[in-house]
């Protein structure tokens, strides 16, 4: 049962069946945008979306997550001792994740699953999750996944892939996890393999043709890091930035976090919260000294991290999946595609002639 066909009725019933074994997340229309939400009750995913406004990273990596609980009540024998909270390890299913977003989890995992340390919160959530992708037929004008190691129907990071088909969907299991989910949903109506493969290939090719913007990343690895760091274009890139942090908030591959203690009376928690390299406090020392106190330093950090430091650290390409969210939502039209092209083409010898970005 590699390929199955799913008609509209089977689809709706399958989503319902999944809810008995999984916490099911899917795209839901909110205002003019779609967001990934937990589908409770008889809610079903709204598959008529291009992509969600926010990435689904919060399913695995919540914006705020309790790491420990404790009491400061000294009459209790365990006061001031940190304990992990009881966890909800119910399997999770993300229905309708786009291939670009699915790839982002593999990129982010390199940070949370290092040879020296394992982040148990991220890894447990990740292990509990089954990703059911939804092939993209109409990429946005801002999409550049094909330059970022992904594609509209790419299967990296997915457990199953669903594509549109007359009267419903066709689905293919990619991992055992995906197969198990399809079985649990009752999506077992086998599809002729040759027919299915042709359908998947046609859909993929048609969608890829619609992505017209290519971004050059091939020379990033060979550029000396300090040449790029000292490049003259950062002032221009940062000029209009208002350090709002929208880009880091939306980005599926931004993982930076803060750790804070919060108490009510004697009961306290240690939580971790998404943080942003766009905020001055992110790096401010207790002494008042701040190694990235200037806006231009923070803007440079964001792009250098994604397009150079990550490239050098892991040798596995850029820390970007080309989802285009930061391009779409930036209030001052800063475009990572242009910055990446500038970095990739940068030649310090030639730079003395003109420091202006070609926009």
């Amino acid at each position: 049962m590699k390929f199955v066909k799913i008609d509209e009725k089977q689809w709706a019933e399958g989503i319902g069946k999944l809810k008995s074994g999984y916490r099911v997340f899917g795209p839901v229309k909110e205002g003019k945008d779609h967001e990934f939400r937990e589908l409770t009750g008889d809610a079903s995913p709204d598959m008529a979306f291009s992509n969600t406004r926010l990435s689904p990273k919060s399913v695995v990596y919540p914006q705020s997550e309790v790491m420990f609980e404790y009491t400061t009540d000294e009459s209790r024998p365990d006061h001031h001792i940190l304990k992990e909270p009881r966890r909800d390890d119910t399997p999770r299913a993300v229905i309708g994740i786009r291939p670009c977003d699915a790839l982002s989890f593999l990129l982010v995992r390199r940070n949370f699953d290092s040879p020296e340390y394992k982040d148990p919160y991220w890894l447990r959530n990740y292990e509990a999750t089954t990703f059911v992708g939804y092939g993209c037929n109409d990429p946005c004008a801002t999409c550049f996944c094909t330059s970022a190691g992904s594609a509209p129907h790419d299967t990296q990071g997915l457990d199953a892939l669903v594509v549109d088909r007359d009267g419903g969907y066709a689905a293919k299991a990619i991992t055992e996890k995906g197969e198990a989910l399809m079985k649990a949903a009752g999506w077992t109506d086998a599809m002729d393999e040759a027919e299915a493969e042709a359908l998947f290939a046609d859909r993929a090719a048609a969608a890829e043709k619609k992505i017209t913007r290519q971004v050059a990343t091939d020379k990033l690895a060979e550029k000396p890091s300090m040449d790029l760091y000292d490049a003259p274009f950062w002032e221009d890139v940062a000029f209009s930035c208002i350090n709002c942090g929208t880009c880091t908030y939306l980005c599926p591959t931004c993982w930076c976090f803060d750790i804070q203690d919060e108490c009510r009376g004697c009961e306290g928690v240690r939580t971790r919260n998404w943080d942003s390299c766009m905020a001055p406090l992110f790096t401010a020392h207790g002494s008042g000294h701040n190694p990235r106190g200037e806006k231009v330093q923070r803007v440079r950090q964001r792009f250098m991290h994604k397009l150079k430091y990550y490239v050098d650290k892991y040798g596995e390409g850029i820390q970007c999946v080309g989802c285009g969210r930061c391009v779409r939502s930036c209030p001052v039209n800063i475009d990572i595609r242009k910055v990446c092209d500038m970095m990739n083409a940068y030649d310090p010898e030639a730079a003395n002639d003109c420091a202006c970005p070609t926009t």
Partner: protein, 294 residues
Amino acid sequence: MTAPARQLDENRGDIMQNPYRPYPVRIDEIITETEDKNLKTFKFVFIDPEDEKRFAYLPGQFAELSVAGKGEIPIGIASSPTEKGFVKFTVNKVGLVSSHLHAMKAGDVMGIRGPLGHPYPWEALKGKNVVIIGGGFAFTTLRSSIIYMLEHRDQFGQINVIYGARTPGMLLYVDELKAWEARDDIGMHITVDGAKDPDWKYNVGFVPTITEQKAPPADENTYAIICGPPIMIKFTQPVLDKLGYGHDRIIMSLENRMKCGIGMCGRCNIGKDFVCKDGPVFTLAQLNGMPKEY
């Protein structure tokens, strides 16, 4: 680009070891070190004695001091692994956690998470001459190093220490400094910027000046370990250059704002390296090729 496989590794037993969980400790003793009372040394005892073995460290490493309800601060370990039964940290009163810590008392329960980061390169330092240059309250991991080297005295060549503070009352570990002064197997060069005490019998002058006068000549077998405020480092470096110290023979320990201490939260990076996980110890040769974001 090849992405890692979707399936996780087979061997996942280690996932249950939570690197964010501090070892519970009890404050055994608090010593006010300096005349401005802004520096206190905390001596901690592990509540579970097994945790002391798990917290096996070397001089130059740091730990997150964790106070439930307040948060965590990364602090260099001031005790030496040769001192058993406790660990020591000297903390400057600066922000929320350190101020709270200064108000705590012996017997209170808190946590220590670590050891974190890389120690000074003890393997490379074996058989070598070591000159330690310290200023102000950045003397903590240097204390650890001195005690460690004296305990393994036959493994090192000449040991020299240049340590300065603003006034005699601002020097850390004064009793130990005096005891080391009395030894003939370590060259101590204590200095202050100025002393009102007519009985002050050590040096007067800034650390760079005393370094120029007292540091041993540079050679392949001599390493300098420098910790101090940026202004001291800025003016000591040209002196070491003048003395001929190679930049791969100058070892420094950095600090940056930290949260996780394990290279994940993303804020303490200098280029692609994290001060917490890839440092905090770097040679000057390494730092020369990195952004000055510290």
